[in-house]
């Protein structure tokens, strides 16, 4: 599963013309594998081979419900993104495929060092996507992005080592580490290190500042933004590693984490309203979602964790879709400023409908993919802290404000400059994306069932209740 996008990416790097076709095949295949894993009970496709045996590192991968769900939506999102973009360099797609391989690796890893390996390896194509194909201020954005990520992840490496050597585990395999968890001050420090790393990648206030620039400077087609959206694996990291490994430390820091999540959720949504650049708006909007997801997860309840991961998985589709949508707008106007024109719904009703659909998904309208995650997060979060739930979910009001005003500024009002409606290729993407987002909203059971299984294991690991 990992190998396919990687190989496709590698080939694509040298033969840019083939990147798209190979990528479609590879992501389709990995998506199918993830789908199969979704229906399999327990950990599917488990494989364990020594990678660096003397150092206790294993190539241990497998997909349980949660990781299968994320792998599925990741594959799907990339698959769709490959369909959606046009007139982009093949090498760019190839880098995206390399990143996909890394992301799938992140989700599948069951060895901490292997996880770290993928976690950082994914950074390289991501940096190149930004650096080679980005906008005018990309170097600045790139360095900020890289430094935040690295500062966090390097500390995490120290914590990974500490987790093993303080706990006295045999190897870095997750199950070994879980059976010999470190305790005391060392565990607290290690947890904090993990927390910093994942806060950068969630991202959570106040370590989110790399995000708006990252999106604003990336290639206008939105393809790189999709990949960036997928790369927000912080919540998953908390879920899979940081919290189960250090439950006591997590319990001690829970109120602060909830606070940060709530601040992120509300603050980002609020700020989004004031943004004039389409991608910045989306960046803040997505940030707000991640705050909500983090809140759900930090509740320490199974239902909240399901919500968090569902939100993570689903937002890959619609947030990614919105970035691609931004790419289409850019192709039509040559700018990402909001309101270069208005009244677009007149000339491009299908484009308008699709945009509205995506925005509504982002707003968390029930029946679309954004809702189940948000809702379950709320259910879980309330059990942990009603007050922070109130704060965070005040964001749903702000979300309606920024999403609808962004939508209306473009599509409503007296008709302005005429633009083309959806083209053939765009129709294909719009149809598939709509189906996917609506399906997850109407029948969330597909993902929430398997995730719930994993979430129960998560709650058991931290010794929580229901």
């Amino acid at each position: 599963m990992l190998l396919l996008p990687f190989l496709a990416g590698l080939v694509g790097l040298f033969l840019p013309g083939l990147a798209r076709g190979l990528g479609l095949l590879a992501t389709l295949a990995s998506g199918l594998i993830a789908l199969a894993a979704l229906f399999a009970p327990g950990v599917a496709f488990y494989a364990e081979r020594p990678l660096f045996e003397p150092a206790g590192v294993y190539y241990a991968v497998g997909l349980d419900g949660a990781s299968a769900a994320l792998a599925l939506t990741t594959s799907l999102a990339v698959f769709l993104a490959l369909l959606a973009v046009k007139e982009v360099p093949g090498r760019m797609l190839a880098l995206g495929l390399l990143m996909t391989a890394g992301l799938l690796g992140i989700f599948a890893s069951l060895d901490l060092v292997l996880f770290y390996f993928f976690y950082e390896a994914t950074l390289i194509p991501s940096l190149l996507l930004l650096g080679v194909y980005g906008g005018a201020n990309r170097v600045r954005a790139l360095i900020k992005f890289a430094l935040f990520t690295l500062a966090g992840s390097l500390l995490m490496l120290a914590a990974i080592l500490a987790a093993r050597y303080y706990g006295g585990a045999e190897s870095f395999l997750l199950r070994d580490l879980l059976s010999a968890r470190p305790e005391g001050a060392a565990a607290t420090l290690a947890f904090l290190a993990f927390t910093l790393a994942f806060m950068v990648k969630t991202p959570l206030f106040p370590l989110h500042v790399w995000l708006p620039d990252f999106h604003a400077e990336n290639h206008p087609s939105g393809f790189a933004d999709v990949m960036g959206t997928l790369y927000k694996v912080g919540v998953y990291g908390f879920f899979r590693f940081a919290i189960p490994l250090f439950p006591a430390a997590f319990a001690a820091f829970k109120p602060y984490l909830l606070l940060l999540a709530a601040v992120t959720a509300l603050g980002a949504a609020w700020i989004a309203y004031a943004q004039k650049d389409y991608k910045r708006l989306l960046a803040y909007g997505a940030l707000s979602h991640m705050g909500v997801a983090a809140l759900g997860l930090f509740s320490g309840t199974a239902i909240g964790a399901v919500g968090a991961l569902f939100l993570l998985a689903a937002s890959a589709l619609y947030t990614g879709g919105l970035f691609l949508f931004a790419g289409w707008l850019f192709a039509r106007f040559g700018t990402l400023e909001l309101a270069p024109t208005h009244g677009l719904a007149k000339h491009a009703p299908a484009l308008a409908a699709f945009g509205l659909f995506l925005f509504l998904a982002m707003v968390g309208l029930p029946g679309l993919a954004g809702f189940p995650g948000e809702f379950l997060s709320a259910l879980g979060a309330w059990q942990a802290s009603p007050f922070f739930t109130l704060v965070a979910f005040a964001a749903v009001i702000a979300a309606a404000a920024y999403a609808l005003s962004a939508y209306q500024r473009l599509f409503h009002g007296p008709p302005g400059k005429a633009v083309a409606d959806l083209s053939g290729g765009e129709w294909v993407y719009a149809t598939l994306a709509t189906l996917a987002v609506a399906f997850l909203g109407v029948y969330p059971k597909l993902l929430s069932g398997p995730i719930h299984e994993a979430a129960q294991a998560f709650v058991a690991a931290i010794g929580g209740g229901k």
């Binding site: 609020w270 739930t389 009001i397 609808l404 979430a455």
Partner: protein, 610 residues
């Protein structure tokens, strides 16, 4: 089967939304109407067969997708599909020639599907799906003529205001879930009724759900969106913003009556909010010049009545009023629509008048609607409103204060209903052109509605006459023991409220008959001006909430950039440190040698001394 009730209009939405533009008028309208009618029949048939249930287990972990057709939901579903069907038919004529004809019916069908989801839900999350769905439909339809910024803005305002209520709903669900571990309504009902000691958070949960209801039903203080919602086409106002969607809040309270019956304090506040809203709406209606806005404020006022009823614990009465109100308010709106249609889009009552002559059929509809609204004896509105007033005295959470205030609002209602009627239909025509009567496709539905507005009240009459509605709904509602007043007292009160309505109508007639020719007292002018602005509710919101929130958004954005700067400066600090350190490399050999020797000596000294 039950699912099909929802799927039929939903299919209509999909078909019309995707391919509607290729259909020739009036096919989309006919198709949409037919689907709603089918749903209506289906609901009727299922209800006759004793209800139905649909459950998809574990839709979300531990939360099934549950639908339930019981008397309560069946009653609402019949109102929604029945009135909805009539308005659909009316719209076939009203929307004739509009560019977005098919789009309109797609949205309309979508609305019906979502409204049915809301009504049939046996689980709060599922209800929430419908709840937000109708909100979306409302957004789409208010902004239907999107090329005008004003409409777009109104649509946004409606959606965002509703979202505030939705937040309450959402949090209420979260609280209920944390208390009972389930969100299925029938299970919650059992849990609440079965428990001897109620959990402490229940009152808060009730309050939060109530906040949701306040948003959806445009109660104080979230009523500001409804008048603006009149920006949509008139059938929209009739269907969504009068007959069905806005009553969803009342329905939510009735559905959750098992909660509120145990929460006297919360119920008290519901009644108070309802009463204040009724008063606010009635007063504001006096100042409006837009034919639809008058009716819109009257809707707010009437919804207040329903909340009053639900607040005092008379849930069936609230639902009774929902039904009669649906008839006469839809009728009023559609009659207004016919007037607007006849005048080529004119909505200002100052340019109407004397339409009695020009639009005889519509005049009849308007008159019936206005009288029913005013509570003219024996009309539908009379019976249901009187039931509410009586309930404030007989139900446990009621009180004489509620009764008297309600009676006063009833007087106001009669007066502004007459104002509307008089300004539109009496006197002389103040506008231009030649008004023409609407086609039959628009008048026939109004005839049906008018019949309802006259006779629907006879379904539930005071004792000792027959009452069909209360026993029908009883199994689905919480039962609160009402202490029945003696029939004599009850009929006395009935006469009183009839008298109040008649007096109100008469005074209104005197005052508004030749309104534009007479001298109006200055205090009334001032009052009129304030009422026109809805007593400055919008201004208050904008000044103290909306604008500060917007400014804060920019402020936070700047603060965020500031944070960004701070990081950059911190990075710059490290860089500066680096430059200082790099200064040690000054290229002088002797300096390096000295450093090396100094450190070596230092280390040796350290090693030896230790």
């Amino acid at each position: 089967m039950l699912l099909l009730v929802i799927l039929l209009p939903l299919a209509g939405f999909l078909v019309l939304g995707l391919f509607g533009r290729r259909f020739k008028e009036p096919l989309p309208g006919v198709l949409a109407s037919a689907l709603v009618f089918l749903s209506f029949l289906l609901v009727g048939a299922l209800l006759a067969s004793g209800g139905a249930r649909f459950v998809l287990e574990d839709w979300l972990p531990g939360i099934p997708f549950a639908l339930l057709l019981d008397p309560l939901s069946g009653y609402m579903a019949l109102v929604v599909t029945g009135i909805g069907f009539l308005i659909h038919v009316y719209a076939i004529g009203y929307m004739h020639g509009d560019e977005g004809y098919a789009r309109f019916f797609a949205y309309f069908n979508f609305f019906i599907a979502m409204m049915l989801t809301l009504v049939l839900a046996d689980s709060y999350p599922v209800m929430f799906v419908g709840w937000e769905g109708v909100g979306l439909a409302s957004f789409l339809l208010i902004g239907f003529w999107y090329t005008d910024w004003k409409n777009a803005k109104s649509a946004r305002k409606a959606f965002i205001t509703n979202r505030i209520g939705d937040l309450g709903f959402l949090l209420g669900m979260a609280l209920l879930y944390s208390l009972f571990g389930t969100l299925q309504i029938s299970e919650l009902k059992e849990a609440v009724e079965g428990s001897l000691v109620l959990p402490g958070g229940l009152a808060l949960a009730g309050l939060l759900l109530f906040v949701g209801a306040v948003g959806k039903s445009a109660q104080l203080p979230l009523m500001v969106w409804l008048p603006d919602a009149m920006a949509g086409p008139t059938p929209v106002s009739a269907l969504i913003h009068a007959a069905t969607m806005v009553t969803a809040g009342v329905y939510l309270l009735a559905r959750s009556s098992f909660l509120y019956a145990n929460l006297p304090d919360v119920s008290y506040w519901i009644a108070v909010v309802g009463l204040l809203t009724a008063l606010y709406g009635a007063l504001s209606a006096f100042g409006q010049w837009d034919i639809k806005r008058i009716v819109a404020y009257s809707t707010i006022s009437q919804l207040g009545y329903m909340f009053l009823a639900a607040g005092v614990g008379a849930y069936w009465v609230a639902l009774f009023h929902v039904m009669t109100h649906a008839f006469y308010k839809a009728l009023l709106f559609l009659a207004s629509g016919s007037v607007i249609h006849a005048l080529g889009g004119e909505q200002d009552v100052r340019k109407m008048g004397g339409l009695k002559k020009h639009l005889p059929r519509t005049h009849l509809h308007g008159l019936v609607g206005a009288l029913s609204l005013a509570g003219f004896p024996l009309f539908a509105g009379f019976w249901s409103k009187d039931a509410i007033l009586a309930a404030t005295l007989s139900y446990p959470f009621g009180g004489v204060g509620f009764y008297l205030a309600g009676l006063f609002v009833a007087f106001l209602t009669a007066a502004y209903a007459m104002r509307w009627y008089a300004l539109v239909f009496l006197g002389e025509f103040r506008g231009q052109g030649h008004p023409h009567e609407a086609p039959p496709v628009m008048t026939v539905p109004n005839d049906v509605l008018a019949l309802g507005a006259v006779f629907a009240g006879f379904l539930a009459l005071p004792k000792p006459l027959w009452n069909l509605i209360e026993p029908f709904l009883a199994p689905a509602l919480a039962h609160l023991e009402a202490h029945e007043p003696a029939p004599l007292v009850e009929w006395g009160l009935l006469l009183l409220s009839a008298a109040v309505a008649l007096v109100g109508l008469y005074l209104g007639y005197l005052f508004f008959r030749d309104y534009f020719k007479k001298k109006v007292p200055a205090w009334y002018r001032a009052f009129e001006q304030a009422a026109l602005e809805g007593f400055y509710a919008d201004w208050l919101y904008n000044t103290f909430l909306v604008n500060p929130a917007k400014e804060l958004a920019f402020g936070l954005g700047l603060a965020d950039r500031g944070l960004d700067r701070a990081y950059v400066y911190a990075g710059g600090g490290v860089g500066l440190l680096g430059r200082i350190l790099a200064g040690l490399e000054n290229g002088y050999l002797r300096f390096y040698a000295a450093l090396i020797l100094a450190f070596a000596a230092l280390f040796v000294l350290w090693g030896v001394v230790r």
